[in-house]
Subunit: 477 residues, 2 copies
Amino acid sequence: MNEADRAGLLARLAATPGCDWRTDADAMAPYLAEQRGLYRGAALAVALPQDTAAVSALVRACARLDLALVPQGGNTGLCGGAVAQDAARQVVVSLERLDRIRAIDPANFTLTAEAGCIVQRVREAAADENRLFPLSFGADGSARLGGALSTNAGGTNVLRYGNARELTLGLEVVLADGQVWDGLTALRKDNTGYDLKQLFIGAEGTLGIITAAVVKLFPLPRETATAWLACPSVEACVAVFGRLRDASGDAVTGCELLSRTALDFVLRHMPGARDPLDAPARWYLLVELTSSSASAGLATALEAVLEQCLNNGQISDAAVAASARQAAEFWRLREGVAEVQRHEGASIKNDVAVPVSAVPAFVAEASAAVQVACPGLRVCAFGHIGDGNLHFNLSQPVGMPVEQFLAQWDTLTGLVNAVVARHRGSISAEHGIGLLKRDALAQHEPAVAIDLMRRVKAALDPQGRLNPGKLLPPTQE
Amino acid sequence: MNEADRAGLLARLAATPGCDWRTDADAMAPYLAEQRGLYRGAALAVALPQDTAAVSALVRACARLDLALVPQGGNTGLCGGAVAQDAARQVVVSLERLDRIRAIDPANFTLTAEAGCIVQRVREAAADENRLFPLSFGADGSARLGGALSTNAGGTNVLRYGNARELTLGLEVVLADGQVWDGLTALRKDNTGYDLKQLFIGAEGTLGIITAAVVKLFPLPRETATAWLACPSVEACVAVFGRLRDASGDAVTGCELLSRTALDFVLRHMPGARDPLDAPARWYLLVELTSSSASAGLATALEAVLEQCLNNGQISDAAVAASARQAAEFWRLREGVAEVQRHEGASIKNDVAVPVSAVPAFVAEASAAVQVACPGLRVCAFGHIGDGNLHFNLSQPVGMPVEQFLAQWDTLTGLVNAVVARHRGSISAEHGIGLLKRDALAQHEPAVAIDLMRRVKAALDPQGRLNPGKLLPPTQE
């Protein structure tokens, strides 16, 4: 596209009511960056609409000019779902100015917020009204609500409270033709026809642009019991998890697995990290029980289970947090894993899920497969074992050149995904598809499922104007 | 259709592998009956496929013969969603022979069952493995799982465990063209593209025929605390509910509202029923707390809240169940309401939901509106106040001829629905749309929502072969 054509398009877009624009390279750069450096973004312009009406006007303007739209929240996604890829024909739509908390209804246990609200801020607003918004994940200090819903974000609280989909009661969405669907109801039960909001949650902006949502709130926790457990095997970890759910009144809000390798990485690279236990073990569980009752007896329930498990060998040692500060130290070990891996060289990350009962077999089989294919590779497995969701990350062999290791990306990921398929698991548990797993999705899912997805896409976005090329591979013409 | 044409069609259908048939009037009668007598069914035949492959073959056979299919589970629906309406061109598909529990995975807290399983039997199968399947509603001794999922059934446990949609992890569905989509995954987290199962849950068989499902299980409750409370107002009931959620560690699994009128009907007509309290009150709450921990201290938490509420006037009296038997008596009063209304003459039933915080205003405004329009009418309001879901039923004035009362159906329902709309509520909280509320849905929902629903229907069932005429009004040609 020559400069005159570009200037002409930008001039016509500039007339869109309620939109600010970023059009020069420097100003656009943060919206085109992709945090892992896997993709290089390119866009005609970045639009910053001020409200839902402006998003609607923008979508209509783009339709008139035959431009596509790439919706973007906090740009913290891990699969390239918010990366624009065409400097001539794609406009990034940042929702960051739609950042109002519209309503909090403590008696209904709901909150209504716009898509651009930072997730952490939504949680704080709920806490101010003595309510819990449970969505919590690593990037939630910069991720925005619309993006979290569009990727059906998970995190550490899914076990007890559900993922973003289960936390959503209502949506407001700008459709591909610019119409606004106002589905901002705050109802626990509503069987009036197809549940349209389900279409847009987790659709990565390919079916509509979420502009606001009604989310569920819960009573604020008042009592917490946290422990760091050493386990001889993944089987033992699964057994401990089941026992804890049973014995605690289903108060398990966190059940995180770490391999010794993962803990070693943290101990080696995170300042101030120290092993909570004296002797090393093969596997660790970080468990957290919470209750909104201040007299739920969680510590008693936890200690009773730990005693049983110490006796039957399902755990070899345990440290119960004596204070909120010590509990925070345990969590810091867990949360450090994602960051410290880069100090160990290149890594290939797999975000997979299998049934909880299949986690032990998955870990054994997948570890064996990748270590045979790439001797010396270090499996850094950790994640949300209560959801069957593992971050099965592969750190390069010590001393291997980075390029040599990364050249095995497709082979190693393919081996992991084959084990996932054998256990009827998911190749993307919580991160989504975006660009990164688009081709893998098409291979992994049966043709009938891909065909259904294409039919839904064609029904809601017949011109292919919303986040083109994401989630589904382009159709062969 | 003449007899020879009919016989010809039936002969061709009879060749479908794996299907039994009911073709004479007597044998078809139970599948054509509609329990409230609002509709008179008519079908060419009733098919009883033995498994998923037979359902697939049947759908393909009907496509070849240009016949439509009306899927049916236990035929307990309240909106006519399973009623066939064309003796020449519609085939009822009863799923009753697909009644196998395919798998139970206690470590994964999941169960896989076929669509024809009775809901209560699924619950029993889970309990045999020390697990809870929480879906529980009045008709669940004859309702079947596929129907419960197709109508997104609710019931008394939604508050804590969610409705049928939230309890479903995976589905197997026969599509409109006879293809089988196998989405029977048992995963808590799976962000691999559009969440296709959401399309079929609550779609009343108009987008596909559910043949099997993976559902979530929970720890089995071991401790229960139940109480019957008298409250001066609906506002007080809402406040008590919030306090109980907070103070109990979110252990409230039941919070049911009854008006004095509802209780009076039960006391008058249900053998053995007696008022748990001495003095009459305007409103009652039946509250139930449960925990899988045997030492959760629920009774203590409950009594502390009751003491506070007695002191601040939010309740005027309370009876705490001293035994499981007494708790069952309280529940029998609540469950009796649906049945006893017929002894008070005709009634017009409204299954509505509003935000919990709007329930008091809804009850006041809707009661005033209908009593002005029809003096002497008795509002029999009861339901799941914790979900904002009321069965706002209108019993005829004493002595009014039935026909005269029922002639006001549209007027009275219209008045109720207008108040629902003012509070952004639902005109069908848990019963669905079917035939009964099809036109009301089209009026109540914005045009953009109806248009989206039509696009989804056209994408998945372009020939309109699945449960035609249900949920959406036929398009004007």
